[in-house]
């Protein structure tokens, strides 16, 4: 359906894999206004398709691959695209965000999103040129069975053969882990991954090895002059900000290992501690000094947070913080080279590094406690490369490990130390020293995710330092950050661009007067945050801390002030929860393992655990949900969801 807004391509394609047919999915300008794009748009589409009786690994699980209106408009960090579907790990709606070039080329093909239904009868890969779909035999073409880099190279080779020339295009693929239905298999585009929640297994079940997209549609913007001028300024802001202009380019996300160690939030020995004695051997500083060869980044990004390291004479993607922490401190491995090897193996096999590493840590502890004799133990990471391979092909103990820590704990016991929420393993931030992050992990729509959980660690020690142990104001902060990040992702921008939300001075002068006042005052302003969260339209203006809204307006021509942006985020977040309710989700599922809620990290300090029940109730109140964690009808009506 054509659109009067710029930035959008005005077409969503619904593809039925079973019948190999395609048709336009109805998506109106009213939908664009309410659901922006990306994951929020995907949630709305899934809302109309999911009844609560579908399984993640079934033909009935629809997959929505969507872009944001800013992708391809020149806005900084705007190359992201989103994949949403039921997750085989959590059984509920999940989304995973990815960089790379797929999103841009999907728009060049004339599409804002792809809705994929049914399942291919035979192993396939799909190409879409200017909206025209073609199915290819993935086995005959020698694509099935390949790891993610050779698979992408092979698809490129096939397309070049077909075209008789090289052309720009985007693609996404799954690796052997997705083919073999490892529950935490991811989807890869270039060297970026939609890693979390097992969406690679969903595509694997549908017999889809990869999708290539290309075309020559033009991506227009509503006000080219102001759009270009504003984005130039936005780029400059990012380059001059201490986090996005200095810290991230120099060390990438691994630069957090040391701060997390300092704050006692570096998950160690399956989250039984928050500090790792040998942390410097695997720190971001050491990685920068000894292993990083170059920085890489997604298209149109000035931050370039991705690390490139040399392994066996090859340049490969280096680890992110979560991977680095979970494959070192959390399994007591102090060998950086082993982390690099494991990270590369996981990436190439197409697996979520976080869930895999979390599952391995659980297995090590279960083995040492005699619950499951799998032969794995803390401190012996050398042998894990073979185990990871076994997981991807579901061989030996790999067949069990491929199901993740929640299912393993149900089978063998040890649920209190299965560090997951709703079936998704937590990332490397130990939440007993950042209780707001603990709340986020527990209530996050996609399970134990630091980003979907609001990323409060940035307020609790990794940026600002407002009392990490107090529950005060944390629920309202969590809601605000979740909603802002929800809208940012839906617009097509990377969440790292939201760092500019924090004025530079607060970051570079942590002991300055202003920062001290902010840190001290933050726990006492929950009421003010609650008021803004409740009436975001009161912020009916563009705010310098959020340049995103002007980029949005100049690109699309749609009115988008800060309040509108927040409300869109709230709508998306609540809508995902509303859908998941159909699958039985309520307060009982917003949990953390007992280790994190019942056992203080520091036995001498009883505040070093997550007071989850208290935090949850305040959070539900803030969101306008019932004490049982269900969005109230009045909330759904306010958000125009019903």
């Amino acid at each position: 359906m054509a659109t009067s807004y710029s930035g959008y391509m005005g077409k969503v394609l619904e593809l039925d894999l079973t019948t190999r047919t395609a048709k336009e999915y109805p998506w109106t300008d009213e939908d664009r206004r309410l659901y922006i794009g990306g994951k929020i748009m995907a949630a709305k589409i899934l809302d109309g398709m999911l009844t609560g009786h579908e399984d993640a690994l079934s033909a009935e699980n629809p997959v929505v691959i969507s872009t944001g209106p800013l992708t391809g408009t020149g806005a900084p960090c705007s190359s992201r695209f989103n994949i949403s579907a039921l997750s085989p790990q959590t059984g509920i709606v999940a989304s995973s965000n990815c960089g790379g070039t797929f999103g841009y080329h999907l728009k060049k093909a004339g599409l804002d999103a792809l809705v994929i239904r049914g399942a291919c009868e035979t192993r396939s890969w799909i190409s879409i040129e200017n909206g025209e779909v073609e199915f290819h035999d993935a086995e005959a073409d020698g694509v099935w069975g390949l790891r993610v880099t050779p698979a992408q190279e092979r698809i490129e080779e096939l397309l070049v053969q077909k075209w008789g020339a090289r052309r720009a295009f985007g693609q996404l693929v799954i690796g052997p882990a997705g083919e073999n239905l490892v529950l935490y298999a991811g989807v890869t585009s270039d060297e970026r991954a939609a890693g979390r929640t097992g969406l690679g297994a969903v595509l694997g079940f549908k017999n889809v090895k990869g999708i290539a997209v290309f075309g020559n549609h033009e991506i227009t913007v509503a006000d080219p002059v102001r759009n270009a001028a504003w984005n130039k300024r936005f780029f400059k802001t990012l380059r001059e900000h201490p986090l996005t202009g200095k810290q991230m380019p120099r060390m990438g996300t691994p630069g957090l290992v040391s701060p997390m160690q300092m704050r006692g939030m570096l998950a160690t020995r399956n989250f039984s501690a928050g500090r790792f004695d040998a942390f410097d051997k695997v720190s971001g500083e050491t990685l920068a000094e000894e292993a990083n060869v170059a920085n890489r980044g997604c298209v149109s990004c000035p931050i370039r947070c991705s690390r490139t390291v040399e392994l066996d004479g090859q340049l490969v993607k280096g680890p992110e913080l979560e991977t680095l922490g979970l494959l070192s401190a959390n399994i007591e491995n102090d060998d950086l080279n082993v982390v690099l090897r494991l990270n590369h193996a996981l990436n190439e096999l197409g697996m979520d590094t976080i869930s895999c590493a979390g599952t391995l840590a659980w297995a090590m502890e279960a083995n040492e406690r005699g619950l499951w004799e799998c032969g794995l133990s803390f401190g012996s990471a050398q042998e894990l490369e073979g185990i990871i391979e076994d997981i991807a092909y579901r061989r030996g103990i790999g067949a069990d490990l491929a199901d993740g820590s929640k299912r393993l704990a149900r089978k063998y016991g040890g649920e209190e130390f299965a560090i997951q929420s709703k079936g998704l393993e937590l990332s490397a931030y130990e939440p007993r020293r950042a209780v707001g992050m603990g709340l986020g992990y527990a209530v996050s729509n996609r399970g134990g995710c630091h980003l979907n959980g609001g990323y409060l660690v940035i307020m609790e020690g990794l940026g600002l330092f407002c009392d990490p142990q107090t529950p005060k104001a944390k629920a309202d902060m969590t809601m605000m950050f979740q909603d802002l990040m929800e809208a940012t992702a839906a617009a097509g921008q990377c969440l790292f661009s939201t760092y500019v939300f924090f004025p530079s001075m607060l970051i570079t002068r942590p002991r300055g007067l202003v920062t001290t006042v902010v840190n001290k005052a933050a726990p006492h302003v929950g009421w003010a945050l609650r008021a803004i969260n409740k009436f975001p339209r009161a912020v009916h203006m563009h705010m310098p801390i959020l340049p995103h809204t002007r980029s949005f307006e100049y690109a699309t021509g749609m009115k988008m002030k800060m309040g509108d942006f927040m409300r869109s985020g709230e709508r998306g977040y609540t809508l995902e929860r509303y859908i998941s309710q159909r699958f039985g989700i309520s307060a009982k599922d917003d949990t953390l393992p007992k280790r994190l809620t019942d056992t203080p990290q520091d036995p001498a300090d009883p505040t070093t655990k997550v007071p989850l029940d208290e935090l949850k109730q305040t959070y539900y109140e803030a969101r306008g949900w019932t004490p049982d964690g269900r969005p109230k009808v009045s909330t759904l009506q306010k958000l125009k969801i019903v």
């Binding site: 996005t244 300092m262 006692g264 500083e285 990794l462 940026g463 970051i507 570079t508 002068r509 942590p510």
Partner: protein
């Protein structure tokens, strides 16, 4: 000239401070954490004369003494290990 009754401590550095100056660790004498700061600034400038690190940057460091979160006023004892990490994190 530091006298012998001033504690000898070992300092390890983290963050951009370390990357900018190449300074990983040093031994020094100091009664309190903050007494280390002028030494650090001197060493940082010696390591990289072009460094833009200022005293205010060092003042903003997160401090750990023997693995415990500490302040710049924290008293030091003989043989302590001090971790100093320059501000600016995020991830």
């Amino acid at each position: 000239m530091p006298s012998n009754d001033i504690p000898h401590v070992h300092v390890k550095l983290f963050g951009l401070f370390r990357l900018d100056t190449g300074l990983h660790e040093l031994d020094a004498q100091a009664r309190r954490v903050k007494d280390l700061y002028p030494v650090l600034l001197r060493e940082a400038r010696a390591g990289n004369p072009a460094t833009t690190i200022t005293r205010a940057d060092i003042d903003g460091c997160v401090v750990l003494v023997n693995g415990k979160q500490s302040k710049k006023s924290t008293k030091l004892s003989e043989g302590d290990t001090v971790y100093l990490m320059s501000p600016v994190c995020g991830g």
